[in-house]
């Protein structure tokens, strides 16, 4: 039922999956996510939708192989089926003609920010996108982001491509040096990156939206595992988000909650590798 149409490795443990999901594709909007299970005894994992093809009835997700579940997923071939797939979940990103907006994607976040940039551009915004990675070969979706933006700027930590440094360095240049009249910033990536962007834009009072990815189980507001602190209030990322006002987010709490099952995740992955791959 939830057939993998394509599974392509794009290096460094990252795979792009195209999944046949007509019901989800027809409804999905930028900023929403899906939850999948690879097998019948598997866990439910939430993944932001990276691209939507309504005509073909399929969605694209990018997943980094980090543990047992993502490893099992990476082994699926075209024609294989997922055990479960549900969505689209979460509240879609706010898409309007704001004027000039900056879409920032860091590492994996590029996949998540891509449909939002695309939709903002279609809505008439001047979309300046900044994408960053540690090295050139880890940079995802450059071409897709170029066509989804009015202008694309790139940062790599080691300077192997684009500007040497962080996405925030480029953002600073846009705001301080170029004095761009930025109405809104959308930043999706590792928590330290989102926090750095948020701290910076706060000084300039630029509305900033981040997409949060806490641990989640049902994804429909039932369990409360994905709760995050927004302006001191408890919110559920699955039904109240995943997009939130960055200046209200308690990022430290988010990081702590994401790490809660780190030990179990590690040992489960090790067991799995021993059993199946004799590492």
């Amino acid at each position: 039922m939830y057939e993998i149409i394509e599974n392509k490795s794009i290096g460094e443990g990252v795979n792009v999956y195209k999944i046949n999901a007509p019901d989800i594709a027809v409804k999905a909007l930028p900023g929403q996510f899906i939850i999948l299970r690879v097998h019948k005894k598997g866990e439910r994992i939430p993944i932001t939708i990276a691209d939507i093809d309504k005509n073909a009835g399929c969605i694209t997700i990018l997943v980094q192989t980090l543990g047992k579940t993502t490893h099992l997923l990476s082994e699926l071939k075209a024609g294989d089926e997922l055990a479960d797939l549900v969505g689209p979940l979460g509240i879609p990103s706010e898409i309007e003609n704001f004027g000039t907006v900056v879409c920032i994607g860091g590492g994996f976040g590029i996949a998540a920010v891509h449909p939002i940039a695309k939709a903002l551009k279609n809505a008439g915004n001047d979309v300046i996108s900044i994408i960053g990675a540690r090295r050139k070969d880890l940079l995802l979706m450059e071409n897709e982001m170029r066509s989804a933006s009015s202008g694309l700027l790139i940062a790599t930590d080691d300077g192997s491509y684009g500007t040497k440094g962080f996405v925030t360095d480029i953002l600073k240049r846009l705001i301080v040096d170029d004095k761009k009249n930025i109405i809104r910033v959308i930043a999706i990536g590792p928590v330290p990156m989102m926090k750095a962007v948020s701290d910076f834009t706060k000084k300039y009072n630029i509305k900033t939206i981040v997409s949060l990815n806490p641990i989640m189980i049902d994804g429909t507001g039932m369990c409360g595992a994905c709760r995050v602190l927004i302006g001191g209030q408890t919110k559920f990322a699955c039904v109240d988000g995943p997009d939130f006002d960055a200046h209200q987010v308690d990022f430290e709490n988010l990081v702590n909650r994401q790490k809660f099952y780190e030990d179990e995740e590690k040992s489960s992955y090790e067991c799995h590798r021993k059993e199946h791959h004799n590492f």
Partner: protein, 483 residues
């Protein structure tokens, strides 16, 4: 056999009254806390017949009035007494489509057994109606393959969509299918059952029992679609306007967990009861060798609350390996809302209950993992709106307890997904769907609702009753088109 039956039937009331209530046999408490198997073992045939003899078939059977779905209780009990167990099950099924489940999770002491004539006599206890119901349903499952279950038929072309595969949705689906309608159930999770699969633990309701009841619905021709979130994947409006459904029943349940809103609640190790139970029940995290969803275990677990969900969570904690699993409740023993049997079972298993204690804040270690909870002691003051005496903090009574995990089981708020995505359907001030008590009719034509999404958190049997009543009203509506 015939003689014996005759003999039983002429048993006079005096003799019936002499028979003592047969308690439900249970797994030994020391042994059962080490497994997730069902605690209650079920009656043997002899127990069931003897217990059935205690019913005096009184002139005014209050028990029927006490039952939210009006099962003809004296009639099924007499059939058990006669040894016609399949007949008894059939009699129950006239009114209830999920007898094996209700026999296990209904709060009988507040319903049928509360008003039982025998139970109201001095020095006597009510007939064990729930135990007998469970016996008949289990006997049927084992011996009466498809015992007279009137199979679904296509009498009408009209299709009805059921939103949510919990107790109210399953009950509504069964009724409507028997009436001859085409029925599709849409379930958000990957498994069917709603609270019966994610909330009620294996040791109280084995999943095999639930699957058996669901299989009967499937055999009847009810279509079930899992992984469909109504309000997201498809909306209620689309079901009616684009997908060809003539009516929709919304039974999406209680929704989203309440938190205490006290400092430190965001720490790792503080769970909602729904998360704690969902990990273990739906995701089977108690068996981490086989299943992939992780679960932590420590030494001390405190559960805040005293309803069935709190009992389920604390007893689940014990089975996961917490050596000290306890209840902290801000009111007193008398105000506990859990079924009596669950409280008894919890006590037998060594769960400690601490009353009149209210948490004030959670305290974490340097990694933001829960390590302590600060509480205050309470005393009971004047009655509040629920009629129960309001707990009031005692000044200077604060104390700190060491804990590895805390579970908050203080109820739920409404889940916004269906209410907020459906046009023209009125909600009350808390966001629950406004629906007629008897028919489940909402303010939107063709849309009915029942169970916790209407009433707020209640019981499985009340939700089932709502599903059943709505099924009658849906039939009425589809035949007359009168709203």
């Amino acid at each position: 056999m015939e003689n014996k039956n005759k003999e039983q039937l002429i048993l006079d009331t005096k003799e019936r009254l002499k028979i003592k209530r047969h308690d439900m046999p249970a797994q030994n408490s020391a042994k059962r806390v080490q497994n997730f198997k069902e605690v209650s073992i079920g009656y043997l045939i002899e127990d069931a017949i003897e217990e059935a003899k205690r019913c005096i078939d009184c002139k005014v059977p209050y028990c029927i009035q006490g039952c939210p779905v009006s099962i003809d209780i004296p009639a099924f009990i007499k059939l058990i007494e006669k040894g016609d167990f399949l007949g008894a099950a059939k009699k129950i099924r006239e009114k209830s489509s999920l007898p094996a489940i209700c026999g296990r999770v209904c709060p009988q002491e507040d319903q049928c057994e509360k008003v039982c004539t025998i139970g109201r006599r001095k020095d006597s206890t009510s007939v064990a109606i729930g135990n007998l119901e469970r016996f008949a349903a289990d006997y049927e499952a084992e011996h009466g393959k498809n015992n007279n279950i009137s199979y679904g038929k296509n009498l009408y072309d009209k299709k009805i969509a059921i939103v949510g595969a919990g107790p109210s949705g399953l009950a509504a689906a069964g009724e409507l299918r028997q009436k001859g309608y085409r029925v599709s159930i849409f379930e958000a999770l990957h498994e069917v059952g709603g609270v019966l699969i994610y909330g009620v633990p294996e040791f109280r309701l084995p999943k095999s029992i639930l699957l058996r009841e669901v299989q009967i619905l499937k055999d009847m021709g009810v279509e079930i679609f899992t992984n469909v979130v109504i309000g997201k994947t498809i909306t209620v409006d689309e079901l009616l306007n684009e997908k060809g459904y003539s009516a929709v029943f919304i039974g999406t349940g209680a929704g989203t967990p309440k938190f205490l809103n006290i400092p430190g609640e965001e720490l790792n190790g503080v769970y909602s009861a729904n998360e704690f139970l969902t990990r273990v029940n739906l995701m089977r995290a108690y068996d981490m060798n086989e299943y992939d969803t992780p679960m932590k275990c420590g030494k001390t677990l405190v559960v805040f609350g005293a309803g069935n969900t709190a009992m389920d969570a604390v007893r689940t904690g014990l089975r996961l390996g917490y050596s000290d699993a306890r209840i902290f409740y801000r009111r007193s023993r008398n105000e506990m809302t859990a079924r009596l049997e669950e409280i008894h079972h919890a006590e037998q298993e060594g769960i400690r209950f601490d009353f009149l204690i209210n948490p004030v804040r959670f305290i974490g270690d340097e990694k933001q993992n829960l390590k302590q909870v600060e509480c205050e002691r309470m005393e009971l003051g004047e009655p509040d709106e629920s009629g129960r005496r309001r707990p009031v903090p005692i000044k200077g009574s604060e104390f700190i307890a060491d804990v590895d995990a805390a579970v908050i089981a203080i109820g739920t708020n409404v889940n916004p997904i269906v209410p907020s995505s459906t046009s023209g359907m009125d909600l009350n001030k808390w966001g629950y769907i406004i629906a007629d008590e008897k028919t489940g009719k909402t303010t939107k034509k063709g849309v009915f609702a029942g169970g916790d999404i209407v009433t707020g958190a209640a019981t499985v049997i009340l939700a089932m009753g709502a599903g059943k009543n709505a099924a009658d009203a849906i039939e009425q509506y589809l035949k007359t088109n009168i709203w």
